[in-house]
């Protein structure tokens, strides 16, 4: 939890003397992987980060997109993995708090939260169940209290997360372009610390998160207080309205050390501060502790003397503390004092810019044989297999999770969670669609294609609501980067995402890298989680009730791509096979065609095929609408495949279109014109989910029975094991 030997000598040579103990603490925090991105930063530059809608300005912790009419959307994603693995409630809650403050830092009001949660096998592992249950409670407690709707996310279970947890939180903000904080500072400006008091929680949190999880370092865990955060949000937005803020940054990893050094670095100034002026929770805190504490719900604000009075009045109204802790200087130094005594005085560029690494990479050995398929046991009853998948934790409805999240507050949620992407209405008459997706099972088998698959899936989800993807958030979660095999998987995923982003012209507007996700049992599978934002100019596709005789068309080809599928892994307990790969040209054509037919108003509902494949996607449409269907497997487009492949392959770029029979002709004409691969595969009706191959029945399942299992199995598992 400190600097490595070569880093220490580097620091000495850069400053030309021995650092003080406080300086060591500050630099150790800022040079930690968590804060400095030293292993990944060189490579992250490959991602496209500009585009016609992207607003790039210095010092933003979130991505900013111009959505028209004088309005902007901000977005960011963060994780809180290490803390959540030790204390899931607090870890998840403070994860929400942190990303919300990033949104606030730009001067926008947070309007939505997404959570991506990953744990070990909850069917077998009680610890995983405990982590899951409490992480959900943590997200709920924090987000609900703030009055920011949690409108979507994903939950996944895999043995690779045993005794561990991935808690990713993305947030979206909205505001007027003119209200964006234009970060700037000049000599003599005042540095203010606003919000919660600084205590002994989260000491060394960023270093804790930059190492494998071997012991439970509880002092490194932060304590959540959503009530204070809510007050900060309202106070900061009032101050923003009155134009009192020159620059703003939230305190996250590395606490004051990072906030001060990164702000000064971004604005090319120096900052002089006095730790005695910081309002603390305990009276005897040492300057080192004050500088690296990661106590939550704190904002750093730069203002001037005149505006300070008004800022203080606002803080008084909300009963939140606001301490003047220092001032802006012109010497580009970070000067930390306690009264008159200097504890640290370092050049900003030294603190804020750790030397970037260029780590070696090597293709992992296991990949040589991973695509080989085992001989699988023969399935005699596909109805049973489908039922088993519908009840499986990764596929079962997540209503037990999102039912605990207030997803309506803010009265923007037009398309509610539980479907593909959720949709929010914006004040400029447009709609914003968003979704996050990950798929570690596929990323393990093929880090490049797996990562692209996550990206495409998130795009598919927003396309299903009628939205055009306008921005991407990437969250890259891997094990120890010093292992060349792990670092190779990181680079492959990143290259895949970059290729897709460039080809589809979807800029990366924000992201995060989380490394050292390991326990003594080993590293996690590569887990990139991708968020996609989509914009709807006119009106979204709000799923309408599917009724008797409505038709079902599938767009996209089903291929023999079973690697990482729930069918292989959950039913056959087999890890391996060919990972689904996205054909960029097919993907693009399919997306565009779906958007066209949605725009023409021809459809009742669109759903993409993902986990569990075609059979699960069709079943989900049936269960949500409590209606049966009859599907002919031989009409499904793609190469000639066995029944199990057609039912459960997780090939990408596939969409199910449900519509009134009268629109069939128009729909077929449009799709033919766009030259996409599609087929009418069946009709809705009756009370059974039926799949047939020729005249042979393959699956025959009562919808009500399937629905009951699908809706309740996750809750039953959590509550009763």
């Amino acid at each position: 939890m400190s600097l490595e030997t070569h880093e220490l000598s580097e620091l000495k040579s850069k400053i030309g003397r021995n650092p003080t103990l406080t300086e060591l603490q500050i630099v150790a925090a800022e040079w930690s992987e968590h804060c400095s991105y030293k292993s990944s930063k060189k490579h992250l530059k490959m991602l496209p980060m500009t585009g016609p809608l992207v607003i790039n300005e210095k010092g933003y912790d979130s991505g900013v997109l111009d959505v028209g009419g004088g309005y902007v959307v901000t977005a960011h994603i963060e994780s809180h993995n290490h803390p959540s693995a030790v204390e899931p409630f607090g870890g998840a809650a403070t994860g929400v708090g942190g990303v919300i403050r990033d949104i606030l830092s730009a001067g926008t009001r947070p309007i939505a939260i997404f959570d991506g949660l990953r744990f070990g096998n909850i069917e077998k592992d009680q610890q995983a169940r405990w982590l899951f249950k409490n992480a959900v409670s943590g997200v709920a407690a924090y987000g609900n209290c703030l009055g920011i709707p949690t409108i979507g996310g994903e939950v996944e279970f895999d043995d690779c997360y045993q005794n561990y947890a991935l808690v990713d939180v993305a947030a979206i903000g909205f505001g007027k372009k003119e209200n964006l904080i234009k970060n700037h500072a000049k000599k003599g400006d005042i540095v203010v610390l606003l919000g919660g008091s600084t205590g002994r929680d989260g000491i060394g949190g960023s270093q804790f998160a930059s190492d494998s999880l071997e012991s439970e370092d509880r002092s490194a865990i932060q304590i959540p207080d959503p009530f204070i955060e809510k007050l900060i949000i309202e106070a900061v937005l009032e101050a923003r309205n009155e134009k009192l803020i020159h620059a703003m940054k939230d305190l996250g990893g590395g606490g004051l050390s990072c906030a001060i050094s990164e702000t000064a670095d971004a604005l090319s100034v120096g900052i002089e501060m006095d730790v005695q002026k910081v309002h603390t929770r305990e009276s005897d805190m040492h300057p080192d502790e004050i500088m690296v504490s990661e106590s939550q719900e704190r904002m750093l604000i730069i203002t001037d003397k005149i505006k300070l009075k008004k800022l203080e009045t606002i803080c008084k109204k909300f009963h939140i503390e606001c301490s003047v802790i220092g001032n802006v200087t012109s010497d580009n130094k970070m000067h930390v004092k306690k009264s008159k005594k200097t504890f640290a005085n370092l050049p900003i560029d030294v603190v804020a810019n750790a030397t970037l690494l260029d780590l070696p990479s090597k293709k992992p050995e296991y990949l040589k044989t991973i695509e080989n398929e085992n001989k699988l046991k023969i399935i005699s009853d596909y109805s049973k297999t489908l039922m088993k998948l519908l009840a499986s934790p990764n596929i079962a409805s997540k209503i037990w999770v999102y039912g605990q999240y207030d997803h309506e507050v803010g009265i923007r949620t037009v398309v509610k969670p539980g479907g593909d992407a959720s949709v929010l209405r914006l004040d400029n008459g447009k709609f914003l669609s968003a979704k996050i997706d990950g798929n570690p099972k596929q990323c393990y088998i093929n880090p490049r294609e797996g990562a692209i698959g996550c990206f495409e899936e998130a795009c598919r989800n927003v396309v299903c609501t009628g939205a055009k993807p306008i921005g991407m958030l990437d969250h890259l979660q891997f094990g120890n980067p010093k292992d060349p095999e792990i670092f190779w998987t990181f680079l492959e995923s990143l290259k895949g995402l970059t290729d897709f982003a460039k080809d589809f012209k979807i800029p990366c507007v924000g992201g995060k890298v989380s490394l050292y996700n390991e326990t003594p049992a080993g590293p996690i599978k590569p887990t990139p989680v991708i968020g996609v934002l989509g914009l709807i100019e006119k009106k979204p596709l709000i799923p309408q009730k599917i009724s008797e005789n409505d038709c079902l068309v599938i767009i996209g080809n089903t291929k023999d791509e079973m690697g990482g599928s729930e069918y292989f892994e959950y039913i056959h307990k087999f890890i391996g096979g060919k990972c689904p790969a996205v054909s960029f040209s097919e993907s693009k054509k399919n997306m565009e065609s779906v958007l066209v037919v949605i725009d023409k108003g021809l459809l009742k509902s669109v759903h993409d095929c993902s986990k569990g494949g075609f059979a699960v996607a069709v079943s989900e449409l049936c269960m949500k609408n409590m209606i049966g269907c009859k599907i002919s497997l031989e009409t499904v487009p793609g190469e000639k495949l066995g029944v199990d492949r057609i039912l459960f392959s997780e090939s990408h770029s596939r969409y199910l279109l449900a519509f009134d029979k009268k629109n069939l002709k128009k729909l077929e004409d449009l799709l033919k014109k766009n030259k996409v691969s599609f087929k009418l595969i069946g009709q809705f009706g009756g009370d059974k989910i039926r799949f047939v191959s020729g005249t042979k029945p393959i699956i025959d399942l009562r919808v009500d029975k399937a629905q009951k299992t699908w809706l309740n199995s996750l809750r039953d598992l959590v509550l009763h094991g």
Partner: protein, 226 residues
């Protein structure tokens, strides 16, 4: 006509309620911070939902001691229509303006879902436009929404027609499926579900007309419309 929307530290449905009052029903709504006083000539007061004081101690317990509650007591005595939604209902209960208590839901979880209400009293300022037993599709979002009264109080509530809304089925373990009550005079109403989330068709997946009648009832009561 002026409607006050009371804002406590931690209120988070205040802006939603304000939007509905002003943009949907064209009312002259004003925010009132909990430390301010309410003007004597105000026509109605709404306590919106949220997590006042972060639900510390008990939901609504601390907000019930805010300076503005004194004014709300006075206005209640004068017969001014007062509506508490969700945390607002909890605050009205905690400040003694409405009977009963709100306990943790039977599931012990926060619950956010769409449910159906049945109108049991159509004589209040917020329900006068409903037919008796009319159904309202509406969302709930709360952790402490289980309404509880003992048998004696329940008997009184029934005698004085103080049960305003019931859930159409068992949702959270509330006594007698009660979702909203009023005081004996009928001018102070509290309800757990969120009408402000249900009055616009864009965000209401079922039917926005019934919940709109809650606000239309207020307009009729005030003589703004008929």
């Amino acid at each position: 006509m002026k409607v006050g929307v009371v804002v406590f530290p931690g209120s988070n449905c205040d802006r939603d309620m304000y939007h509905v009052l002003t943009d949907v029903f064209n009312l002259d709504a004003r925010y009132f911070w909990h430390e301010k006083s309410l003007p004597k000539n105000i026509d109605a007061v709404i306590l919106p939902g949220g997590f006042s004081y972060g639900d510390r101690l008990r939901a609504g317990a601390i907000a019930a001691h805010s300076p503005i509650i004194k004014d709300i007591h006075k206005l209640a005595e004068k017969g001014i229509p007062i509506l508490g939604v969700c945390n607002g209902f909890q605050i009205l209960v905690e400040s003694g303006l409405l009977p009963g208590v709100l306990l943790k839901n039977e599931s012990l979880n926060f619950m956010c879902e769409w449910t159906n209400l049945i109108v049991e009293n159509n004589k209040t300022p917020f329900t006068n436009q409903f037919k008796l037993h009319q159904k309202i599709p509406i969302p709930i979002a709360n952790g402490e929404g289980k309404y509880y009264v003992d048998n004696d109080v329940l008997k009184q509530l029934k005698e004085k027609n103080q049960i305003v809304f019931r859930y159409s089925e068992i949702v959270n373990g509330s006594t007698d499926r009660i979702a909203g009550v009023c005081n004996k005079e009928g001018n102070v109403v509290g309800m757990m579900p969120h009408p402000e989330r249900a009055v616009e068709s864009e965000i209401n997946p079922v039917d926005n007309k019934p919940s709109s009648l809650i606000f239309k009832s207020l307009l009729v009561k005030m003589g703004v419309s008929n």
